[in-house]
């Protein structure tokens, strides 16, 4: 599964994207975040306030309880500040 990161989430994690093999039991966006936080302090830092970081599945905004099965690309990013 491809993960992509933007803005300060990208900077904290230190990469723009990566492809990961998910272990069993990762069903929702928040499961994925919890697992990512076990992968190193850069992830802990990026997700230190989990409720601030937003997610999108295949280019569509996704709430933390969204099931990720079938997703090709999951994005994590701060609240948007365009416009």
């Amino acid at each position: 599964m491809k993960l992509v990161y933007f803005a300060w989430v990208r900077e904290r994690i230190g990469r723009t994207d990566e492809t990961v093999e998910l272990p069993e039991g990762i069903e929702t966006v928040s499961d994925l975040v919890r697992w990512l936080k076990t992968r190193g302090e850069e992830y802990e830092y990026a997700f230190e306030n989990e409720e601030i970081v937003r997610a999108a599945i295949d280019h569509v905004h996704a709430k933390p309880d969204r099931v990720i099965a079938g997703a090709r690309e999951i994005a994590f990013f701060p609240p948007m500040t365009g416009g």
Partner: protein, 155 residues
């Protein structure tokens, strides 16, 4: 409804986009445009850098445009959002709405901007006059509040 959506680094030409939207038709009575510009924040900034999520940016703006089209009788709509380095005084975003009457054009343009601000995947970072990178711009609570009036009402 004709819909034009563009995500680009280059500047846009509001007059040209307006002409394209209104060309060869006489049913449009009202065109509202919104242009968002880069401010220098009292001389503090040398630029804003806009990062975006390619692919999702266009898809999300298209979804927002469809919502507007379902809600108001629009005859045409254009959204252009720039990314990259943008200097004070330069344009960042353009929203154009065309309708027979002014109410729909005004409401739809305002709705589009409110949703773009909070839902379109763009992030602004400040670049300071002294040559250093500044902070990522924080999302404003009032932008979330602005959405509420559209969720409460139908018109």
């Amino acid at each position: 409804m004709s819909v034009t959506i563009q995500i680009q680094a280059d500047p846009f030409d509001t007059a040209r986009e307006t002409a394209l939207l209104t060309a060869r038709r006489a049913d449009i009575g009202a065109v509202v445009s919104f242009v968002g510009l880069c401010r220098d924040e009292g001389g503090r900034l040398s630029a804003l850098e806009l990062e975006h999520y390619p692919g999702m940016a266009e898809a999300e703006i298209r979804r927002i445009a469809e919502m507007a089209g379902e809600r108001w009788p629009l005859l045409g709509l254009t959204v252009i959002h720039r990314h990259g380095m943008i200097r004070p005084g330069e344009d960042i975003v353009l929203v154009l709405t065309a309708s027979a009457h002014r109410e729909a054009a005004f409401s739809a343009a305002s709705f589009l901007m409110d949703y773009l601000k909070t839902n379109a995947p763009f992030w602004k970072r400040e670049h300071l006059r002294d040559g250093t990178k500044g902070a990522w711009v924080e999302a404003a609570a009032r932008d979330d509040a602005a959405l509420e009036r559209w969720e409460r009402t139908q018109g």
